[in-house]
């Protein structure tokens, strides 16, 4: 078996957030793969994540229901593609569970575009080198995602993840 693919970002099609966070790699992994934890950090407050369902294996369901402050719900059902414990998690909004492609790939539940999120983690002592690479099919989708506030949004929820997991550590 070959080692996991290394992804080279394409600046015109991909969005990349890289940070080093003050949480051990096992806890970042746990935050991304445990529904009860996802609910605490996945949506930028005052949005919330009301529901989360994860079947943690290739082809498994990755479902969230986010909720805006007015109580409107935004369900999103994606598919998990790759699971390398404490190292790599890949999921996509372009398919549903069982790798079923969404026809048209319009990603209605995800802002009118589809993407694949490639989360890679690397331990640096008790810290974690965190990379979220989000790949799109064309420049328009990428731009739309950026204009929706990708960088601010994904940075904010990462800060929330850190806060939640530091509190978990203290328990």
């Amino acid at each position: 078996m070959k080692p996991p693919l290394t992804h080279k970002p394409d600046p015109s099609l991909d969005l990349l957030l890289e940070r080093t966070v003050d949480v051990p790699v096992e806890l970042v992994w746990k935050a991304w793969t445990t529904p009860d934890l996802i609910k605490q950090w996945f949506a930028p407050r005052p949005w919330s994540t009301m529901e989360c369902e994860i079947d943690l294996r290739p082809g498994g369901r990755f479902k969230t229901v986010m909720c805006n402050p007015e109580g409107q719900e935004f369900p999103g059902e994606g598919c998990i593609l790759e699971v390398v414990e404490n190292s790599k998690l890949v999921w996509t909004s372009a398919m549903g569970p069982g790798y079923r492609p969404y026809v048209g790939g319009t990603g209605e539940s995800h802002g009118g575009f589809v993407f694949t999120a490639i989360i890679t983690l690397e331990a640096e002592g008790n810290q974690t080198k965190y990379s979220a690479l989000v790949v799109h099919g064309d420049e328009e989708s990428c731009k739309k995602h950026e204009e929706m506030g990708f960088y601010g949004g994904w940075a904010t929820v990462l800060e929330q993840l850190v806060e939640v997991m530091q509190a978990e550590q203290g328990k």
Copy 2:
């Protein structure tokens, strides 16, 4: 790590070909994962497969160029999703290498629809229980694929695979 997902076909969205073939499971796997062998069986003759490139890991390229008897080329570039040696191979026409979704999901290079192919193999002595499950995003895509001759085509190329690998065994 959970065991690989078991797929339950949906008769309105999926096409399923099941056969027991007279080739050991390791050779069916080899036929599906070796470009030089793919070229010998993947297209129903008198069509041919001129090119094949496989990066055998999740996110890797699955590329073929088929050619009709008039010499017209039909390139198809998909993405490998799951690799369980001698047991399960999944690839999709809905994404390119690196899990990049095709925008619109129109699958121009694959007859105007997109699909995911889930090949599962099981040893039965020196024979192999072979299952090709092809999942679509809507009934229209599924119907289009069936009308294009899915059952005849996939059965024919499986016969070609058997013939090629039986010849390999005799070498």
